[in-house]
């Protein structure tokens, strides 16, 4: 066994971290969030130039990464800097496109930063259930049209192309009968965009007989989605880990500099023992991310259990780190101006992406029974 990053990944990590610390200060980030797009297109172009979008894809699709370890490295850095550009939607939709096949050109354009993609899968009543699809696809001749409502679509407004899940058969909660389609924006695609509490762009999307191109075969959707979500969930856990590390660093620094009763508050055992616990849990979190990232190519049950274990721990550890970071900062932790609260918001809101703590606990148990 070897837990070291290889040379390429160390380079990837260093390059991205350096770029972000030079170009992505938190005030700038707040500025991006305030724009109409809710992110910076200029930054996105620079990320493309730097090869960071390519790092999400394997070589066969024109990328130069795409493995679990690449995702881990990239997303940890994104989390440390609270990057709002649409890496996560790109990874989700891109993984589905890559796995379904036939869209190599589009992926190339995405890697180059020319086109943008998002996955429109979740629905208003679906909660975190992957197989919940009410949206339906109708076939007329060789062409498909899609109708239905998609909820909290990350990056949905800026995407030029949407990967949409829709039913070609089966009941609302059946794994069978889910198909994936490529949909370009048109009058038949109604987008209501908004920001999330932690500052990321998302949208509600209504499809009214939108014309659509089938990806993969009819009914191939569930397996493709599961793999795409396995990657994206691992990635978002790495992102959360990065944000937790940043929150921890700020807190430790504050404990050394803030004085009350004539001493740095870090001297109080009531605080420093809790921070010691945070440190222990962060080691656990890193290991959980490594376990998930390293098993993305394993058999389905192993992969999915590791992913669920990681996301469950991400929720529980994340809450501990976010809440302790605020609490130990006292009033400062409650302000907009001081960055720790923004990290706390990202960490907690990640619990609401791709299944929360309880969802993944239950799923881990069920997958264990199936093993």
């Amino acid at each position: 066994m070897n837990f070291e990053l290889n040379e390429d990944r160390t380079l990837l990590s260093d390059t991205l971290s350096r770029f972000l610390s030079d170009n992505y200060q938190i005030e700038k980030r707040h500025g991006f969030v305030m724009t109409d797009d809710r992110f910076s297109r200029e930054m996105w172009a620079q990320f493309a130039e730097l090869g960071m979008i390519g790092a999400l894809f394997t070589e066969e699709f024109g990328g130069f990464g795409g493995q679990g370890a690449d995702l881990m490295v990239v997303f940890e850095a994104l989390g440390r800097n609270l990057v709002v550009e649409p890496f996560l939607p790109t990874l989700l939709a891109g993984s589905a496109l890559a796995r379904a096949g036939g869209q190599e050109n589009l992926i190339e354009q995405v890697i180059a930063g020319e086109e943008m993609i998002a996955l429109a899968h979740g629905e208003p009543a679906g909660r975190y259930e992957l197989s919940h699809v009410e949206t339906s696809a109708t076939k007329e001749g060789d062409a498909y049209t899609i109708s239905g409502n998609k909820a909290v679509v990350l990056g949905g407004a800026s995407a030029t192309h949407l990967v949409v899940s829709a039913r070609t058969s089966g009941e609302v909660d059946a794994q069978d009968g889910i198909s994936l389609f490529l949909v370009e924006k048109s009058d038949a695609v109604n987008v209501r965009d908004y920001g999330t509490l932690d500052g990321y762009p998302a949208a509600e999307i209504q499809l009214n007989k939108a014309s659509a191109t089938l990806l993969g075969g009819e009914g191939a959707g569930f397996d493709i989605l599961e793999e795409a979500f396995a990657k994206a969930t691992t990635a978002v856990c790495a992102e959360a880990f990065g944000a937790m590390e940043a929150a921890k660093d700020l807190t430790v620094e504050y404990m050394h500099t803030r004085k009350q009763f004539g001493v740095p508050i870090g001297k109080f055992q009531a605080l420093n023992h809790r921070m010691a616990d945070v440190l222990i849990e962060l080691e656990q979190m890193r290991s959980a991310v490594i376990n998930a990232a390293g098993n993305l190519d394993a058999d389905r049950i192993t992969r999915e259990r590791e992913v669920s274990a990681c996301k469950h721990l991400c929720g529980t550890i994340g809450r501990q780190v976010a809440e302790e970071s605020i609490q130990i900062h006292g009033g400062m932790g409650m302000t907009w101006e001081y960055p720790v609260g923004h990290f706390a918001k990202r960490i907690i809101m990640i619990d609401h992406l791709f299944g929360d703590t309880d969802h993944h606990l239950e799923r881990y148990i069920e997958l264990g029974r199936a093993a």
Partner: protein
């Protein structure tokens, strides 16, 4: 021992309910229900309605215009107000300054200030904390130097809740640097219209303007605005804090929040069934309900003793710690209950006039924001760490 409410208590509950039914403005009730931002006017309006009924200053003795209720009556009133969706009364004048004036203020001060708190002429804020003095409050540096009939005040207060709504501030100021830091503190009432005072907003992490920084630059305050004796302010400050903390058990507030959580959990679906039937979520809700029910009894037991004149020192600390933990657990469950719809957030949608179609369920928008906003609870009124320090010092002898 008798856990049942007496007949009189039940009929008191009915009286409170009919009052709330009749008098709580529907507009305010709706804002509360949807978690909208309250304006100062909303607060003023509700205070005036309560005052007209004689139910504004529930903790005051009847000689000063309080209703003279027992601890159980206060509890019933609090519970009913929260469950009807009434706004919290603003505590700075009513529950912080007033008890101090009653105990330590001059007859003149009582006669002047107390009625003005009731009728809304004065709207108070609390000037304790400073940038360098939070938990270590006694280290405060804002100075008041005697100059004839006045004190000249210089310095900075911070975290001042609703300072932008207030026209008066009660401040802890340093009048002496001799001896222990606690021995040079005085309790001063300052008119915020005095020249030299500047109020600047501090925006909280979820984007709300609730607290402020207040700067004092050679502010002239009449000597008559000193409460009690010079350099004895620390005693009054501590007395005030026990009152402030007793209100932080949050029982009525948590009770209403738990009811709301149950409704959300019954509406939200998981795998086609109500979330409230999901064993994982049901277990989490049950645990917090058990805690809250025990806390209700703890709260009443402690308040019943306080009624009989017992000191509310470390007990108020206990209520504060447990009360905030329970309240925050409910906030946490509420955001979980929403699933992905905890994510969308619009600050504009917190305004009363906003009438665009909500994203997700109509109750969703403020819920995650509230989870973050309420993280203030274990920090203010003396952090929970400081409360544990008080408990271990006074109860355990460490």
């Amino acid at each position: 021992m008798d856990l049942a409410y007496s007949q009189e208590e039940e009929s008191f509950r009915n009286e409170v309910r009919s009052f709330l039914d009749a008098k709580l403005p529907a507009r305010i009730k709706t804002k509360m229900k949807l978690g909208k931002r309250l304006t100062k006017d909303d607060m003023v309006e509700w205070h005036a309605i309560l005052n007209e009924q004689g139910w504004l200053a529930t903790n005051w003795p009847s000689e000063h215009g309080g209703p003279g209720w027992t601890a159980v009556q206060k509890h019933i009133f609090d519970e009913e107000c929260w469950s009807a969706g009434a706004p919290r009364t603003v505590p700075f004048g009513l529950n912080m300054l007033a008890p101090v004036l009653m105990k330590f203020g001059s007859e003149e001060q009582k006669a002047h200030y107390l009625p003005r708190i009731l009728d809304g002429t004065d709207w108070w804020c609390q000037g304790y904390s400073e940038p360098g003095s939070g938990s270590d409050l006694a280290s405060l540096r804002t100075s008041a130097v005697r100059d004839g009939d006045h004190y000249i005040v210089n310095g900075q207060k911070t975290w001042t809740t609703l300072g932008h709504f207030a026209n008066w501030i009660f401040c802890l100021v340093r009048t002496s640097t001799e001896g222990k830091p606690q021995e040079g503190i005085s309790f001063l009432l300052i008119d915020m219209d005095t020249p030299g005072i500047e109020v600047r907003p501090i925006i909280l992490l979820e984007g709300e303007h609730e607290v402020n920084e207040i700067f004092f630059d050679n502010v002239k305050v009449p000597v008559g605005n000193l409460v009690g004796e010079e350099n004895k302010g620390w005693t009054y400050a501590k007395y005030l804090l026990t009152h402030e903390r007793t209100g932080t058990a949050n029982v009525g507030n948590s009770n209403a929040a738990l009811d709301k959580l149950k409704k959300i959990a019954a509406e939200q679906k998981k795998g086609g069934k109500p979330l409230s039937e999901d064993p994982f979520f049901a277990a989490r809700m049950a645990k917090v309900e058990m805690e809250l029910n025990a806390l209700k009894t703890t709260n009443l037991r402690i308040l019943a003793q306080a009624d009989a004149g017992a000191a509310a020192g470390p007990e108020s600390s206990m209520l504060k710690v447990k009360g905030t933990i329970v309240r925050l657990e409910i906030n946490d469950l509420a955001r979980r209950a929403l699933g992905p719809y905890a994510l969308p957030f619009s600050s504009e949608a917190l305004e009363e006039g906003y009438n665009e179609e909500p994203v997700g369920p109509d109750y969703a928008n403020p819920i995650a924001a509230k989870y973050f906003n309420n993280r203030k609870m274990p920090i203010f009124a003396g952090s929970n760490e400081v409360q544990r320090g008080i408990i271990s010092k006074t109860k355990l002898g460490f």
